[in-house]
Symmetry: C2
Subunit: 213 residues, 2 copies
């Protein structure tokens, strides 16, 4: 049975790992950096999560649980409406969830977004497998809804554009789309809400006619 103090340590480790993985990536973050930031012992990671990869798995599961719940909730709302959801509706629901994750309420909202954004681009097959398993359920739901909303596209075309949406949102979340040139941050703030820009762009991409084979 986990003691209250133990779950507190677990949470501190998860928070610190989420932030540091988001900042430096998984491979480049050492366990000692994590445990130092979490004010815990190095061995605590292996005690609570078994290994470094176990820690990553726990961080991923916690993060994805949040976004999966919200995405399915929004999809349920859309489906409850009179007319079936349009591609624009679906894109907005999907993107807004990712772009506004824990917006101002939680302090670590930005960390969570950056972490998930980085996750999509991770090269390591083990990490990709981990991530793929977590997104599978909501992916199926949205793919189905999008295919119905876009009858002029083959399922393969819809799937390709869906993956493009996931990838682009990830780049948006990880800051790759805005902080393209490292160095001093851009003078002008995000402007007319980058999330809206992204939604517009992706909606147009989905509604485009199929590519000529």
């Amino acid at each position: 049975m986990p003691t209250p103090r133990a779950t507190a340590t677990r949470t501190r480790l998860l928070d610190a790992a989420e932030r540091l993985f988001a900042e430096h990536g998984f491979a480049a973050t050492s366990l000692r950096t994590v445990t130092e930031a979490a004010d815990a012992n190095v061995a605590a990671v292996n005690y609570h999560f078994g290994s470094k990869e176990g820690l990553l798995r726990a961080v991923v599961e916690r993060a994805m649980a949040t976004v999966n719940r919200e995405r399915l909730r929004l999809l349920g709302e859309l489906r409850a409406a009179a007319r079936p959801p349009s591609a624009a509706d679906l894109v907005h629901a999907f993107v807004a969830t990712g772009a506004h994750l824990g917006d101002p309420q939680e302090a670590g909202g930005a960390d969570l977004r950056r972490f998930l954004g980085r996750l999509v681009c991770e090269p390591d097959p083990a990490i990709r497998r981990l991530f793929g398993a977590e997104v599978a359920p909501v992916e199926g739901e949205y793919l189905g809804a999008l295919t119905e909303a876009l009858p002029h596209l083959t399922p393969a075309e819809v799937a390709y554009r869906y993956r493009a949406m996931v990838g682009l949102l990830a780049l948006h979340q990880s800051g790759t789309l805005t902080d393209f040139h490292p160095g001093p941050p851009p003078a002008e703030p995000p402007g007319p809400d980058d999330a809206a820009r992204l939604t517009t762009l992706l909606t147009a991409a989905f509604e485009a006619p199929a590519a000529r084979g």
Copy 2:
């Protein structure tokens, strides 16, 4: 003066590094793995390139020189035509260069594409700085041409969508868009040329009206 034998070693190191960086990423690839694959000594890297980062820099410069030359050449062709290039023309020139890099002629074409694709997603600020410096010149040219071709968009909007194009092409090159779920490769081959899918998608994205502020 570099001896012929020395430049051969340099080339073998660059080839091996390009392939291994593409496969495992920069941080996760050890110098010993590279030198082993290149049939060279560990110290050869520091002798020829100064450091591991120096090796990366050399790989990036060699790779980007190829794509920059081709992209500027295609842009010159488009500008030599009677009418100014459309957004579709520009997107096609930009994407096709990245998607068909060293297509069948060179054996390492796939490595080069994957390497450049991974590069865009690299988190390390030092790597991003390195990459940013290499793409700057061609970026300016294409941004200017795209802004002229899309008078209904503000330069900031064009820039945002340009970065989306770069990012999406990178995901395409690194296989993130096609090998989304790790494991057995997809049964159906690339279909109607994924590069064409990407070009269609991006052209529609560029031509979309501006997002409502």
